[in-house]
Amino acid sequence: MGLPLILEQTLNGVQFGVFLFLIAAGLTLIFGIMNLVNLVHGSLYMMGAYFAAVAYQWSGSFLVALGVALPALFIVGIVLEMVALRTLYQRDHLDQVLATFGLILFFNQLMIFVFGPASQEMNLPQGLEGHVEIISGAPYPTYRLAIIATGLAVALSLYYLIARTRAGMLIRAGASNRTMIAALGVNIRLLFTGIFGLGAALAGLSGAMAGPILSVEPGMGEDMLILSFVVIVIGGIGSVQGALVASIIVGVVETLGRSIIPFLLERIISNEAAQTAGPAITSMMIYILMAAVLFFRPRGLFPAKGG
């Protein structure tokens, strides 16, 4: 177990963290500002992947796939908010859980109905199929590096949007006191719809980028959704910054742990016992991490102000 492998697994972890961040960023804003338990967010990720895969199969171009998936998800998000979710803001959390649970079942089945149960194929984009040798002896797929770069770019733009623009000011104001900014004459419904569309587009971007390296199939969104919950709980509900830090942590711990823990266990206990305990421990790790964070910081690492 040398340095190149650790480096590779760490980068894989960061790249996985980027997928999680793109989902969690929208999710945490929706949780924090609209106080809505939105289980459908994983389905938006899935639909992003499907739209991208279908557009890719039709055009053969990854850029076209992105160009279709992002606006499509923005529109799906807005329509979904206006048709179904808007009525849920005033409801209690149980209602929101049940209604959005129903929507997950619907969207999963819809994908099966339209595209069939088999997974969709999508290739790596042209020009990014190769490897880059970061340090000697550690070639790393260019596409995965591109994902990491995209994630950082999105994080920076989100930071700029939230911290430096008027729309961002309204988002922050909405998070700390919804009633007050409505009273000041801000069209809060429009703001909510906009945020939802943005969150949907980000989830769609995550799904589209996951297309070439993960399998595009019904139900692919739920595991990501639950991991995003863990991310949000660790980062603090409503905090995009927290979502970024927590998704990288969760991504790295999840990925790196899978290779390091069995290796360490073999050193400490017998080989046979390590083979039994290793997978069990690695599968529980991020949840133990979450429990530990909650124990010391019940509102997450970066608790959002107000709310």
């Binding site: 338990v37 179904a84 409801r91 149980l94 859980v97 129903g102 997950i104 109905f113």
Partner: protein, 319 residues
């Protein structure tokens, strides 16, 4: 007042009628030669136990657990793991199912109950997902393929392999669990739980350590759901991590709400209603979820009080 009286009669009638139907059902299915229905209704009753147990914390305690399927899995694995080593003693398995579920519920509850609202929902979900992945990683017991089990042995003369015997065994446990849960919610303990739901701060101010009360309710609920898991493992003779799948937790929530939260009897009806609907819709089309999903949205928007709510007075009651 007379209205309330009428509703009470209606509810009592519904409960007694349900009991009678369940009691005589095996005779009817035998008469019309459709033994398949005995197993089907056994399954309904098992989920009824699980849903009723969830209602204790959801309906009375206001704790929205999105991870109740964990205890179905724990109960199931209590059967499976003992059976794997050739130990089919039902008393032992049931005791481990109950105590194990209670213990895990205590641990999970101790962390989750420090939080509330959105955090609580997400964390209960996350911990159940953890147990789900733990189940998958247990290669010894079949991993995600699951593991075959024998039915439990209690004593000479109680043959759980006999469908009708098993049916009445489950029926008996259902009655015991429902009556037990009714006793719990009517007790002083239950009152404290409900009190903490409506105003936790006030309950603490008048001297109740509500955290402890809620944690114990959480554990009782988990333990009873563990019984359901034990029975489900026996019924299917096959235990997989799917018992703990997140969608199973969602389904349990749907059963409770469909039947009516905070009534214990309601979720029993809700479980039967949910599974009947599932059976019926899936016999019509393989894409039944296309209709089922949106109907959940409609249920939430327009029929929040559930089936049992139909025969309960509208305002001022239970809440």
């Amino acid at each position: 007042m007379q209205r309330a009286e009428r509703y009470r009669h209606a509810r009592r009638f519904a409960v007694v009628a349900g009991l009678v139907v369940l009691l005589v059902l095996p005779f009817i299915t035998e008469a019309i030669d459709e033994p398949f229905y005995v197993d089907l209704v056994t399954r309904f009753m098992i989920f009824a136990i699980a849903a009723a147990s969830l209602d204790l914390i959801l309906g009375y305690g206001g704790m929205i657990s999105f991870g109740h399927a964990a205890y179905l899995g724990l109960g199931g694995y209590a059967v499976a793991i003992f059976s794997f080593y050739g130990i089919d003693n039902g008393f032992l398995q049931l005791a481990v199912a109950i105590l194990g579920s209670a213990l895990i519920a205590l641990l999970i509850g101790a962390i989750c109950l420090k939080t509330s609202g959105l955090y609580f929902i997400m964390i209960t979900l996350a911990f159940t997902q953890m147990l789900y992945f733990l189940g998958i990683s247990l290669e010894e017991y079949g991993g995600d393929d699951g593991v075959n089990t024998n039915r439990s042995e209690f004593f000479e003369g109680l043959d759980l392999y006999d469908s009708t015997t098993f049916y009445y065994f489950v029926f008996g446990l259902l009655v015991v669990c429902v009556l037990g849960l009714r006793r719990v919610v009517a007790s002083r303990f239950g009152r404290v739980i409900s009190g903490a739901k409506s105003n936790d701060l006030r309950m603490r101010a008048i001297g109740f350590p509500t955290f402890r009360y809620r944690l114990i309710a959480f554990a009782i609920s988990g333990a009873i759901c563990g019984i359901a898991g034990f029975l489900l493992g026996n019924l299917t003779e096959f235990v997989t991590p799917e018992y703990m799948h997140w969608s199973r937790s969602g389904e349990l929530l749907v059963m409770v709400v469909m039947g009516g939260t905070g009534t214990i009897f309601g979720p029993v009806i809700g479980a039967v209603g949910f599974l009947l609907l599932e059976e019926w819709l899936s016999s019509l089309t393989e894409h039944w979820l296309l209709f089922f999903g949106p109907s959940l949205l409609l249920l939430v928007l327009f029929a929040k009080r559930g089936l049992f709510g139909l025969i309960s007075p509208a305002a001022g009651g239970g809440e």
